[in-house]
Amino acid sequence: MATVELRNLRKTYLHEEIIKGVSLAIAEREFIVFVGPSGCGKSTLLRMIAGLEDISAGDLLIDGQRVNDTEPARRGVAMVFQSYALYPHMNVYRNMEFSLRLAGMPEAERRQRIGDVARILQLDPYLDHKPGQLSGGQRQRVAIGRAIVRNPRVFLFDEPLSNLDAALRGQMRVELASLHRRLDATTIYVTHDQVEAMTMADRIVVLDKGVVEQIGTPLELYHRPRNLFVARFMGSPPMNLLPATINAHDPDGTMQVRTETLSVSIPTQQGGLEVGAPATLGIRPEHIRIDPQGAVQGMVEVSERLGAVTLLHVRLPDGQMIVVQTGGDNTDSADTPICMTFEEEHCHLFDADGMALARSTDHPLLAGA
């Protein structure tokens, strides 16, 4: 398996820069996920690594070798496409055999290797079937099988699960994760689905408008977003964001922050914002506690009961809406006044440029990260 290194990769298309300098070092056997809203350039970046798009500037290294101008097939990468892109007139066996046949591999070896892969993916009964006769999940598996038989150094996945229904997507997600563990392959995976990103990735790369917003482990991104974009993008329902001002800061760095309706003190590292500076207070829905003695008051507008949890859409006295996640047995219905407590250790503070202020306390799950 291989390392992949992106050095200031850029892609210009008709005078418009789509990828604006992406640098990233991917370790052997790492599972990297590119996420971002549609049009952020994540698929383009993947296609540049695959060799399907030219690289306008920068270097792409696989195993330390510059492969900018190497043909896709010679880069040792295999790709699974969103539409699967199976060859419709070839049966499953021929689909998987195609690259091996072009590479001039002897018949017996081809048969052997395809047999092995078909067994791993439970495709043995379908080797004679044409793609048109298979279900979505089976086609997906054939597409993965076609990538595996080539024994590539790097696997590339371009939104491979987006054409499947929700139940199958969950199942394939687990299969992909266990397949990755078994193959120990360096993998780059593009998705817009944060559940896929959070559950499968070793590290996530959040992209927006061709720029890397943050690179980190899933929990790093979730608990310590570097800026407002990542804070908004990761997590569902998204983080509550309230305009705020710095009221005071203590010598140890703790900021006294107030918004129109509440004030909290957030433990940040020293040398943060001046008193009176505008800021944004962020808190995830699950970090707001319903508490009869709570200092924050609000009125429930909508209550979404999801079974395991209940999402309360609460209007604060100044008219701002926030989402509170609480237990599935919550009985508050619309037009109920409630009191809440913001868990201060889980509050995020962003400066006027949208950058997060460094915290003085580490998240317990991120210790050592």
């Binding site: 399907l52 896709p72 097939a73 892109a85 419709p88 007139h89 195609f98 590479a103």
Partner: protein, 306 residues
């Protein structure tokens, strides 16, 4: 056996009667159109069959009466008949080979992005809008004429002697003219087919290590196979009955060198005024067309299955 209650079909329930009534009503309403179609196709067929068994020559009204199979016998033993069959096969095969072969390559070419593609596409399709007679005259007098022709001028410009194509190589020249007329049709159908090819398939093939040629053979050509079958079928139907081009350019000659079955029937009927012989030729043409159609339909049906 499991016990299954079997009800006898109830013949005269009101719903069934209503359905039969509607069925009958539908048939009555459709029948004028069906009758007209029947008249249109069956009456000429029966008349042709009838004439083909009779002595019937327009310039010799004394020769009348039943001829038995004599008309067929004279036709099938006439060396011109075998030549005309051969010529028909060469015309159909030659035009198909050129229009499908070149048409596929042109379709691939015109699918690529290049400056002026829109205009080029219109130009490549435009010969299809020229009626056969005009197209044949254009080629005969404007392009290939040994004295005035553009082509001859080009030959002379480089010091060569122009060739009188239509008298030296009549059949090959006809194949060329008809292929020129039908190439746009093939390009049009194949181009629309190629546009529906999933680009990710070609990209996947590229990742699998397929070069341009391997992509064409393994991805593009199988994708086009259905459209190619359709082109072959439609073109064959029309190419079996080429007439205007032959009539305008060579009139079947020199001798019978460029006479196909359709032109042979015409010459029997309207040059020799032998209605009986021409009708026999017509019946043979129907048989030939049906044999070809049977093969084609089977091929198409197999191709459209999956």
């Amino acid at each position: 056996m499991d016990k299954v209650a079997v009800h006898p079909p109830v013949m005269d329930n009101p719903a069934g009667r209503a359905a039969r009534g509607r069925h009958l009503q539908g048939f009555v309403l459709q029948s004028p159109a069906i009758m007209l179609l029947l008249l249109w196709s069956v009456v000429p067929l029966l008349m042709t069959l009838w004439y083909s068994l009779r002595n019937y020559n327009l310039v010799d009204p004394t020769q009348q009466g039943f001829a038995g199979i004599n008309n067929y016998w004279y036709l099938l033993t006439d060396p011109d008949f075998m030549t005309s069959l051969e010529n028909t096969a060469i015309l159909v095969g030659g035009v198909l080979a050129i229009s499908v072969g070149l048409g596929t390559l042109l379709a691939v070419l015109y699918n690529e992005a290049f400056a002026g593609r829109g205009i080029a596409r219109v130009l490549v399709i435009s010969p299809f809008f020229i009626m056969p007679t005009v197209a044949a005259l254009l080629w005969k007098n404007l392009m290939l004429h040994p004295i005035y022709g553009v082509y001859s001028a080009m030959m002379r410009a480089v010091g060569l002697t122009p060739i009188d194509w239509l008298s030296r190589y009549p059949l090959a020249t006809l194949v060329m003219i008809v292929a020129w007329e039908w190439l746009p049709f093939a390009v049009l159908i194949l181009l629309t087919a190629i546009q529906s090819l999933d680009m990710e398939q070609k990209e996947a093939a590229r990742m699998d290590g397929a070069g341009m040629v391997a992509q064409f053979i393994n991805i593009t050509l199988p994708h086009l196979s259905r459209a190619i079958t359709v082109v072959i079928m439609i073109e064959t139907i029309f190419l079996l009955t080429i007439f205007a081009e032959i009539s305008v350019t060579t009139a079947g000659g020199p001798g019978v060198a460029s006479t196909n079955l359709a032109f042979l029937i015409y010459s029997r009927a309207l040059l020799q005024f032998d209605v009986g012989g021409a009708s026999a030729g017509g019946v043979v043409a129907i048989v030939v067309a049906n044999i070809v159609a049977a093969f084609l339909l089977r091929a198409v049906a197999r191709n459209l299955e999956t």
